[in-house]
């Protein structure tokens, strides 16, 4: 049994840091992985100008198909692959309805969620009470066993690294390739892209299928790694959070990771703060201190006055929270407030986007959700 390490007044800073880095951080990364996958997929979809609200339905489909495949074949890899295929196929139903038959994207997306939840429940009926084969962890000799860093960076299953690599690939695709430029053009102005000879509908269908595949893999991660079991309706709203993260990230791949860690991490944090009786203020102080040091380290060569002010502000905040943590060691933040923060931040971003001038700055694809017909 693990030693109980909380950030109480009688626990040293080193121990607290150790706990956060080796225990909390890895769980937060795992909790964020389904969100990273689903949000990255939806980001590509929205970048092509399509709003697919059926993420929840595609995720739950991936969860059930991935689970069934992994149980039947005994190989989780096959589960993840078929989950991606299933998510992609379900997304193509949405694609056919919205792109070819020109149905309303919002209504069709909502219907896709309901359809996915129902179909998954039906398919998974005989698969309750079974546990799937374990997904392989990356185990590098010596490195994975290294204290702190090994647990922080090299203790995950391969999907975690795959998801991060995917985000990098999507960034590279969107910003550094011609195909990515075409995709963005379709999302910004489909009529212009059409006039230039690009096949708007085909490009959008491909983006929709990619989004579905990512969501399917994210769902499979829930049923194969995080829980691990199949249970009806097990996504329990995570698809909607993935949608919110895309907006929160203002359609930028790098920020998707931050959003997913924030949304996934806060859930984990509030559970662990309760279980470990952690001091919230102390944690805030440590996080702020880490961010401050990180900022200095990253900008060491080009520290402008503005950056120094930021660093000084963050450092002061860190010191202030630490002083408060020492003054009120018994301070407890009601967990409800902590669960609210990601949603509050999403609301702030949404409000900012609704103002037209900031909309462009925030990167929203101009044709998002608009119907395209070649004749118009």
């Amino acid at each position: 049994m693990m030693e109980v390490i909380g950030l109480n007044a009688d626990v040293t800073i080193q121990q607290s840091l150790f706990y956060i880095l080796t225990t909390l951080l890895p769980i937060m990364v795992i909790a964020a992985t389904p969100l990273v996958l689903a949000s990255t997929g939806e980001l590509i979809v929205e970048k092509s100008g399509v709003l697919n609200l059926g993420v929840e339905g595609m995720m739950v489909m991936g969860a059930v198909i991935g689970f069934i495949t992994a149980v039947e074949t005994g190989t989780p890899v096959a589960g993840f692959i078929l989950a991606a295929v299933a998510g992609g196929l379900l997304a193509l139903i949405f694609g056919f309805l919205t792109q070819v038959l020109l149905s309303n994207q919002v209504a069709t997306g909502l219907a896709l969620t309901l359809f996915g939840l129902g179909l998954a429940a039906l398919m998974g009926q005989t698969y309750t009470g079974i546990r799937p084969p374990q997904t392989a962890r990356i185990d590098i000799p010596f490195v994975s066993d290294a204290p702190v860093l090994g647990q922080m960076l090299f203790s995950y299953d391969w999907i975690v690294y795959f998801a991060l690599a995917l985000v990098g690939a999507v960034w590279w695709f969107l910003n550094r390739t011609r195909a990515g430029l075409v995709l963005r053009a379709v999302g910004e102005n489909h009529d212009a892209a059409h006039a230039l000879g690009y096949r708007v509908i085909a490009i959008r269908l491909a983006a929709i299928a990619f989004g579905g595949a990512c969501a399917g893999m994210g769902g499979a991660y829930l049923s194969l790694v995080r829980v691990p079991q199949w249970s009806e309706g097990m996504t329990a709203g995570i698809g909607w959070i993935a949608l919110a993260i895309v907006v929160f990230a203002s359609w930028k791949p790098g920020r998707v990771i931050i959003g997913a860690w924030l949304f996934g991490g806060v859930t984990i944090l509030q559970l662990n703060i309760q279980a470990a009786n952690l001091n919230v203020l102390g944690i805030a102080a440590i996080v702020l201190a880490v961010v401050t040091i990180g900022m200095i380290a990253l900008n060491l060569r080009s520290m402008t006055a503005k950056n120094w002010i930021r660093v000084a502000f963050l450092g002061a905040l860190a010191l202030l929270s630490w002083a408060m943590a020492l003054t009120w060691p018994a301070f407890r933040l009601d967990s409800a407030y902590l669960s609210m923060t990601p949603y509050l931040m999403t609301i702030v971003v949404l409000v900012a986007i609704s103002g037209d001038r900031t909309r462009a700055a925030l990167n929203a694809p101009a044709s998002l959700g608009r119907v395209f017909h070649a004749s118009s």
């Binding site: 909790a31 009926q125 829930l222 995080r226 249970s231």
Partner: protein
């Protein structure tokens, strides 16, 4: 004026058809609203068993419907639609449906409502629940004996009296057999979210808990506990857990110590019969182990004989009405006296319970 006339005509027609319906052989329509999916293998699953029992018992004389995964915040719309569809008797099966049920009931005085685990009634709204805390006493005895780390993890949903009652009953029982026992409580603010419940179980295990209790609806915590039984060395044991609302044995053949099983079938059949006989009236039903509403699942074979016997004795005493889970002396968390020596808690206090008993650490969230 014309509109008023039309409305009046419509009302008259409705009343007339309603009158005809009561006399004809039309099947009685019974509806259910569930907070989770029927396949949660916990709370909602068990209510669904009750609905199926009604179908089997009454055959063609009833027509049942259900709507699953209805969020508490959005339930009024769903309940109203069910009432508008002409459902005669509606069971709303989650605590958070209380106010919505009462609101809709006010608008549909001819429809009969049954609200589970609430405390507010109306002429056409009954409340019913189980004395789950009696089962928590049995669980507490088992947990107090079986824990080696003396840390028991408790996954709690919402800070409502029913959940707090369960925590207190389990703690008092565990403490009575193991004075060193400590409870770690995590509030997850949901009834059904497998991923979050699994994370909570992991967080508790990480903090040293080796027995997990849950007051949420999914089987995820049981699955997490069962996973710790893989690849164990000799003489090692994994994490234990309890089935909640349903038996959950297939989810934790090694991990499951016992379970609290809600058996709604007799009550549901009785209430539907009452509507058919025309004897239905607003009532308050709160039965426990003695009446069979709360049943206890078989004990894990790994439990030592004397421990199982002790838990069984408590179970029998509660069933016979000889033992009350809340018997003094019991103090509140702040040290003030709640129950004097030999005094037992009255139902009023239990129904409104908003405090921890002495010895439990932490605060109840608002």
């Amino acid at each position: 004026m014309k509109l008023l006339k039309t409305l009046g005509l419509a009302t008259a027609l409705t009343l007339a058809t309603g009158g005809v319906m009561a006399q004809s052989d039309d099947p009685l329509s019974v509806g259910f609203i569930y907070v989770g999916p029927i396949g949660d293998f916990g709370w909602s699953y068990q209510h669904e068993q009750g609905r199926l029992a009604i179908e089997e018992h009454f055959g063609d004389a009833v027509e049942t419907t259900y709507i699953e995964s209805v969020p508490e915040g959005d339930s009024e719309r769903v309940i109203r639609r069910m009432a508008q569809d002409g459902t005669d008797l509606i069971f709303t099966t989650s605590f958070g449906y209380m106010t919505p049920t009462l609101r809709v009931a006010g608008q549909f005085p001819e429809t009969m409502f049954e609200h589970a685990t609430g405390y507010q009634r109306a002429d056409n709204v009954s409340v019913y629940s189980g004395r789950f805390y009696e089962g928590r006493t049995v669980q507490g005895i088992l947990a107090g004996h079986m824990t080696e780390s003396n840390v028991i993890g408790y996954i709690a949903s919402f800070p409502i009296p029913e959940v707090i009652r369960g925590i207190n009953a389990a703690y008092l029982a565990a403490k009575s057999v193991n004075p060193d026992v400590e409870f770690k409580i995590v509030w997850v603010s949901t009834w059904f979210d497998p991923a979050k419940e699994a994370d909570a179980a992991n967080a508790l295990i990480e903090q040293g808990a080796d027995v997990i209790m849950q007051h949420t609806d999914s089987t995820a915590p049981m699955t997490i506990a069962e996973a710790t039984w893989d690849n164990l060395g000799e003489d090692e044991t994994g994490i234990y857990a309890f089935g909640q609302a349903s038996d959950m044995l297939e989810f934790g053949p090694n991990a499951r110590l016992s379970s609290i099983i809600d058996n709604w079938n007799p009550y549901y059949i009785e209430r539907v019969q009452a509507v058919m006989d025309g004897t239905w009236e607003s009532a308050d039903s709160w039965h426990g182990i003695g009446q069979g509403t709360t049943t206890i699942g078989a004990f894990n074979i790994n439990i030592p004989e004397d421990v199982a016997a002790e838990a069984q004795a408590a179970l029998d005493a509660i069933a016979a009405g000889e033992l009350h889970p809340f018997t003094g002396p019991v103090n509140k968390q702040d040290g003030s006296v709640w129950l004097a020596e030999g005094e037992t808690a009255d139902d009023g206090t239990l129904l409104g319970m908003n405090f921890y008993v002495e010895g439990i650490e932490g605060a109840i969230p608002n």
